[in-house]
């Protein structure tokens, strides 16, 4: 299989006042892989993926997606290029129904402009399909704000799926899910991975080891290590920084 780089960062930095949340990160993501990002709390994982999605601007450095320098593109344009981002802190439309939430995402893909594009039936069908993929098919008419926390996390993921992105970024998607929901979630990500590259920040090592082709470790904004799951679990520096730490 030819190695095609889907996403690359060069010297990516983000400072919050004196704090270097992301510090000179050179990163490469191969098309088609599932990559996990791990690291202690406050390591800069969420900040790093926010820089990829354009949700926050970098202090320095470049983001290159599918060969195009997207460093200066606003977030909504990057989404349209195929970078979907799901939030660590659940970020949905609480007063709308599950279906309505996902329809907004489906519309972005199927009817990107005011005129032309898909009709309502097609948008609804795509939204329903994404809901079913994460196991929310029976809750389409529920008001999103009234869902259990775990279901809100799944809704967040379904909105990402409905975008049918080339790169799906998931920020701690399994936080607050039950074991059964986590098992289902792992299946969902594997299925998504047939069509999309997945970048997932995850604290749950069982999920990481079940899914990841490669693992990147961040610590204090710097790239500490990168490798296969076997390499990372055997890496002494990683164990000192992260795995050795009591959870």
């Amino acid at each position: 299989m030819a190695e095609v780089t889907l996403l690359e960062t060069r010297g990516l930095c983000r400072q919050f006042d004196a704090l270097k949340a992301v510090d000179e990160v050179d990163f490469r993501l191969r098309e088609g892989e599932i990559r996990a990002i791990i690291g202690p709390n406050g390591a800069g994982k969420s900040t790093f993926v926010s820089l990829l999605s354009g949700r926050i601007p970098p202090s320095a450095g470049q983001v290159i997606f599918a060969g195009q320098d997207v460093s200066r593109l606003p977030a909504h344009r990057r989404v349209r290029l195929g970078i979907a981002y799901t939030f660590q802190i659940t970020n949905i439309y609480p007063s709308l129904t599950v279906l309505e939430n996902i329809e907004i995402a489906a519309q972005s893909r199927l009817k990107p402009h005011l005129f032309g594009g898909a009709g309502e039936a097609e948008i609804r069908a795509a939204a329903t399909e994404a809901a079913e993929a994460v196991g929310l098919g029976a809750r389409l008419a529920s008001v999103a704000g009234a869902l259990a926390y775990g279901h809100q996390r799944l809704l967040e993921v379904a909105m990402g799926l409905a975008l049918k992105p080339r790169l799906l970024i998931l920020d701690e998607p399994t936080q607050g899910l039950s074991d059964g929901e986590i098992a289902n979630f792992i299946e969902v990500v594997r299925r998504v991975n047939r069509e999309a590259t997945v970048l997932v920040i995850e604290h749950n090592m069982d999920v990481v080891l079940a899914l990841a082709d490669r693992i990147t470790v961040l610590e204090r904004g710097r790239l500490l290590a990168e490798g296969t799951p076997e390499e990372i679990t055997a890496n002494a520096a990683v164990q000192a920084a992260y795995l050795g730490e009591p959870a």
Partner: protein, 318 residues
Amino acid sequence: MIHNGRLFALILATIAVLFALQFALSDYLVLAATRILIMAVFAMGYNMLMGYAGLLSLGHAMFFGAGLYAAGLSSYYWGSSLPVSFLIGILASAAFSFVIGLLALRTTGVSFMIVTLMFAQAAYLATLYFSRITGGDQGLTLPTDARSFSLLGHQMDMTSDPVRFNLALAIFALVLVFMFFVTQGPLGRLFAAVRENEPRTRMLGFDTYRVRLAAFTISGTVSGLAGALYGLVFGYIGSAFAGFHYSIEALLFTLVGGPGTLLGPLLGTTVMTMLIDRLSGLTTAYLMIVGVILILVNRWFPKGILGTIRERALPWLK
């Protein structure tokens, strides 16, 4: 395609009932209903921005005024026919609201309220400053030949109560159906999305500034259409129509009827107009009573009459 069939049926039924009113009401009430219909169009325009897109403007009188003056002045000075003047009023308010939207939408929340208020005050003062053209406070009464037009061979007389009522109703109905298709379709979905969670909407790939600009421009254009209709139907334009009072009325009618409901503005305009009418006959302090009512409504029915009904019983009432 019609999405929310029950709501559409309710809209058609409402239009039919309104049409029947003219056979039941006295001449005086038909005239009152004509005014209510036009003000309801204004409130519907306001509701598009405030109720559907979640942006509270304190300056919508400037759009009502833009339509009123563009239509009225073109008729007064150029002698353009009423339909042409009406069209000029709509186009002028569309252009005006687009430009104001470009600037005002750089802000949100309280700053947006203040910015819209400032623009509206500036516009109001401009109508006074240029009083040699606009007639200022005194206003201008449209000449007799601007009081009628011919439509498909029929002479439409703007001094006849039934003609005015049916004209206002026809335009109200068209705007209402237009609003239905805008709010219940893909664009309305985006309005709800920016209202409920703007940052999330951006991260789903939408340029939320443009979405808001679309809501703002439609809102301002419909408000201006109402102003143009008002000026031409009643044959008078004056700066009071661009004053703060009118901005507050649009807000009040929408709040009482139910922001984000299609029929809320009509209901709110009807209830509040009739109430103010009654109260002002009883006491000169009627505005204080209106204020108290507004506080009570806000306290117990913050979603307005139809919004409360939607929440408790009829979720499709949007």
